[in-house]
């Protein structure tokens, strides 16, 4: 079973939000909500500064607390790419997953179910990259199978200095920020 992941090169990212916009149109994300977002972190004092810009979203964790806490099985791990997905038909909107997710990656859709990044599973099944990856004008986002050592994502994570978000939560996040 493939284990899809992203490697995002923060040295190239300019924080333009194209990933956020492309996700919104591709996935008809309702007004006021988004499934990915930009974080800018400045460190230091003027003029000796460092700025890390990250495009963040659901980490499609190896050990997803949102799946473990879901009372109905709506949140589940897909066999396709080991993706963490939500079945809106099974979701009762109890928000346990929202509380469980350390990344604040989930929202409640106006139709009452939990919603989040799907890694554009509908596009993956057509052989396309997720919309955010495909649109990025800086080519800072790389998508692929972490279980395939020859994949671009595996090679980048192996070769480049990187970090993931809140690894200490033990969730096994699969988005790696190259620095």
């Amino acid at each position: 079973m493939a284990r899809f992941a992203m490697a995002i090169d923060t040295t190239r990212c300019v924080g333009c939000m194209d990933c956020v916009v492309a996700c919104k149109t591709e996935n008809d994300v309702p007004e006021g909500l988004c499934r990915d977002w930009i974080v800018q972190e400045a460190r230091g004092a003027f003029p000796d500064l460092r700025l890390e810009i990250r495009s963040e979203r659901c980490n499609h964790c190896d050990h997803p607390p949102c799946v473990h806490c879901c009372p109905t099985g709506a949140s589940h791990v897909e066999s396709f790419g080991s993706l963490v997905e939500i079945d809106p038909k099974l979701c009762i909107g109890c928000k346990a997953c929202l509380a469980a997710c350390p990344y604040d990656a989930r929202t409640i859709h106006p139709d009452g179910y939990a919603d989040k990044c799907t890694f554009c599973i509908h596009r993956l099944k057509e052989g396309l990259e997720p919309a955010c990856v495909a649109v990025c004008p800086t080519h800072c986002m790389h998508f692929g199978d972490l279980d395939d050592p020859a994949s671009e994502v595996s090679r980048l994570v192996a070769a480049r200095r990187n970090h993931s978000l809140i690894p200490e939560a033990g969730t096994g996040p699969r988005i790696f920020f190259l620095t």
């Binding site: 190239r12 300019v14 924080g15 939000m17 194209d18 149109t25 003027f46 500064l49 649109v135």
Partner: protein, 731 residues
């Protein structure tokens, strides 16, 4: 027409949601019919076209799902976007769904600026405009009409105005944006920088940015090439009072004092000349007046520059040497919006000269030579010649102006000199935000007999119009072909993807209908735009059918660098690169740029700087429902230490007061380490005042409102706008 289909349950639900939206308070006229899908069209169709959210004109493919516009993506064959639009382009679908769009022609009911309207038919509106234009021509001559336009959409209106007999066609993109840059380069190399800029960032080994904030400023090709340069380890040098996103990618960030770039440029050139690091062969082969230039820049040591621009001598030497090390693939970027201090053409000339020393003009990794495909014009009669000439620059007081000066037309309108200008048509540019000193613009408007605004939203400038003509957005119309000057020549088609939701019309139709009413039939021999486009395309061996399918067709690529056999030609008086400018000396200007210190902000005040955000174009996109969600208001950047001393906390709301006691709307403070303490910064385009724009899209503060002072460039008439000082008042 697409066959009627049975509504699936899914589609039924979608339609209900649309109807609920209407019930929830969208104005009846504001709800786009296309929200409901058109004529039961089912399934997916894709339509190639090109973007219009900014002037870069990336080629795109729009997707319609079940009759409703779904998304727009880059055309993979596009040499500009390489299949990846910028966030504004991606969010461009929102322009179609914008609920604040103008829906019918409007005629003013009350005083100008009161925004009270009567909706009329197109016939009524165009009859009125034509009648009043003809009256103006009869009384004052055809030159009394001026057209302000922005972007390719203005092409057919420009044609109508030229046929009408006026030379007063003008765009703020010259005197409020890139004009000084082009003049600086024209004086040096005999050619401007053109648009898209002829910068070969893709191949640069060293890129120098002065205030240019690529990445926040989202010119697609440049940002893509910038990221590529960063990715392959090119040296990035950024001089900016603000730690921009680009600065965060730089090995060398130079926190320069605002307004002192010429000091830095002169001392960089000093290092290259005195350490003999410049491209001697190139300068010897192509340079004119180098000795005089070298003697001048010898005066400007890094130690001289240090107290003036705030950059220490070691950094100046180190960065100059690095530029030389990577030359000729060192690109000192000319920027785009460069109307800052009124000495902008000379600053741009200093940038041109630094590039000349590095030998980057005409070289790979520097400045390439763009070319375009030969697509013959549609044959029309010659335009009538104006005896009086343009009104913007009487007596050539700005001797090096190579474009028409917007503020010159504004002055002529107020003064009636050199002759009366009594009518304006304004297309796709919000003059109240584009020009400095709003009061002056309003004074000019009050002197007019006629103001017509063609726009898609009830913009601030539309609020002052006598007649407002609602245009279809770019996704709903054909436009002129984009025959682009670029490193890869191409021709591109814009074509309708979906229908306009209400009674909006494309500009080609508006121009033709107006032209016919003005008695200009011979200039509009085409029945419709398809016929016009077909004729032009067939002249080049192409067809409209092919273009409709492909969207973009590339032409042969000629040599673009001297290395590839491009001849080194310079269209200057000496035929060479002018290190010393005889033209400037003859007109009484500095033949070699000189530094003059900028005025310092008074105690307790800050210089107001402004710039771009990646998700908005000027003041044109704030009502786009997708882009406004990304950023719905601006904030004022203030150095964190300075802010704390003023007792401000993050996100406190303040008003800005400028030196002329003009006060802004409340705006949130961003206390940040990322800016010097002597200036504040905000993104341009926010804090709009038009009542037709919903309040939630009018948030933030307007930099333009606060730019009451401007410094006119004596070479070319551009308006330096970074010369205003503000204090902060807690709300």
């Amino acid at each position: 027409m697409a066959p009627r289909v049975q509504l699936s349950r899914r589609r039924f639900l979608k339609i209900s949601a649309g109807a609920a939206g209407a019930a929830a308070g969208f104005s009846a006229s504001g709800l786009p019919a296309s929200l409901l899908g058109s004529d039961g069209e089912a399934g997916i169709r894709t339509v190639p076209t090109f973007c219009d959210v900014c002037f870069w004109k990336c080629n795109a493919v729009a997707t319609v799902r079940d009759g409703r516009l779904w998304k727009i993506e880059g055309n993979p064959d596009d040499p500009l976007s390489h299949g990846r639009l910028c966030p504004r382009g991606t969010g461009g679908v929102g322009a179609h769904f914008d609920t604040s769009r103008l829906t019918a022609p409007l005629v003013r009911r009350e005083k100008r600026g009161e925004e009270e309207w009567t909706a009329v038919t197109w016939d009524q509106a165009l009859d009125e405009v034509a009648e009043r234009m003809l009256t103006i021509r009869e009384r004052y001559g055809p030159e009394a009409m001026a057209l302000f336009s922005h972007g390719i959409g203005g092409t057919f209106l420009k044609h109508a105005f030229k046929a009408f007999g006026t030379p007063n066609l003008v765009a703020p993109s010259y005197a409020q944006c890139r004009g000084p840059r082009d003049v600086g380069f024209e004086l040096t190399f005999g050619e401007g920088v053109s648009t898209p800029e002829r910068t070969d960032i893709e191949n640069a080994r060293c890129l120098v940015l002065l205030g240019s904030h690529l990445g926040e400023n989202m010119h697609n090709t440049q940002v893509q090439e910038f990221a590529e340069a960063v990715g392959r380890g090119a040296t990035i040098i950024v001089a900016d009072p603000r730690f921009s996103v680009a600065a965060s990618k730089a090995q060398h960030y130079l926190p320069i004092q605002p307004g002192t770039d010429i000091a830095l440029l002169l001392s960089w050139m000093h290092v290259l000349v005195t350490e003999e690091l410049y491209d001697k062969e190139y300068v010897a082969a192509h340079g004119f007046g180098f000795e005089a230039f070298a003697a001048e820049v010898r005066r400007y040591t890094p130690e001289w520059a240090w107290p003036r621009c705030g950059i220490d001598p070691q950094t100046i030497r180190e960065t100059a040497r690095e530029m030389a090390r990577q030359s000729p693939a060192t690109l000192v970027h000319p920027g785009r919006h460069v109307t800052w201090y009124g000495n902008d053409a000379q600053r741009s000339r200093a940038i041109a000269l630094l590039n000349a020393l590095l030998g980057s003009w005409g070289r790979k990794g520097g400045f390439y030579a763009p070319s375009a495909m030969d697509i013959p014009e549609y044959p029309v009669p010659p335009y009538p010649k104006s005896e009086r000439g343009k009104a913007d620059n009487p007596g050539h007081r700005y001797p090096f102006a190579s474009g028409t000066i917007t503020n010159g037309i504004r002055e002529a309108t107020i003064s009636g000199e050199p002759y009366p200008v009594k009518g304006w048509m304004v297309y796709a540019t919000n003059l109240l935000q584009a020009l400095p000193n709003q009061a002056e613009t309003i004074r000019a408007i009050e002197a007019l007999d006629l103001l017509v605004v063609v726009d898609v939203i009830p913009s601030e400038i539309a609020g002052w119009a006598d007649v407002v003509l609602p245009e279809s957005v770019y996704l709903e119309r054909y436009d002129e072909l984009n025959v682009e000057w670029f490193k890869q020549p191409f021709v591109a088609l814009r074509q309708p993807v979906v229908e306009s939701p209400a009674d909006q019309k494309p500009n080609w139709w508006i121009a033709r209908e107006l032209g016919l009413r003005l008695g200009l039939e011979p200039f509009f021999p085409w029945e419709n735009v398809e016929e016009y486009l077909e004729t032009r395309l067939q002249g080049a061996g192409l067809s409209l059918a092919e273009m409709k399918e492909k969207g973009v067709v590339k032409g042969p690529k000629p040599p673009i660098y001297y290395e590839e056999g491009l001849p080194a030609e310079f269209f200057t008086p000496s035929g060479k690169i002018e290190f010393y400018s005889t033209q400037l000396a003859e007109k009484g200007f500095d033949p070699i740029p000189r530094f003059e210190p900028p005025e310092e902000p008074p105690p307790g005040a800050f210089r107001l700087l402004y710039g771009r955000a990646p998700v908005h174009s000027f003041s044109r996109t704030q009502t786009n429902p997708i882009l406004s969600e990304m950023m719905d208001e601006n904030e004022v950047w203030l150095n964190a230490d300075v802010g704390r001393r003023l007792g401000l906390r993050p996100r406190d709301r303040v008003r800005l007061r400028n030196q002329d006691d003009v006060v802004s709307q409340p705006v949130a403070v961003k206390l940040t380490e990322r800016i010097r303490g002597d200036c504040v910064y905000m993104v341009h385009g926010f804090g709009q005042s038009a009542r037709g724009i919903p309040a939630h899209h009018r948030k933030g503060a307007s930099d333009s409102h606060l730019i009451t002072r401007y410094a006119v460039d004596p070479l070319m008439g551009g308006t330096g706008m970074s010369v205003n000082f503000v204090t902060l008042e807690a709300v």
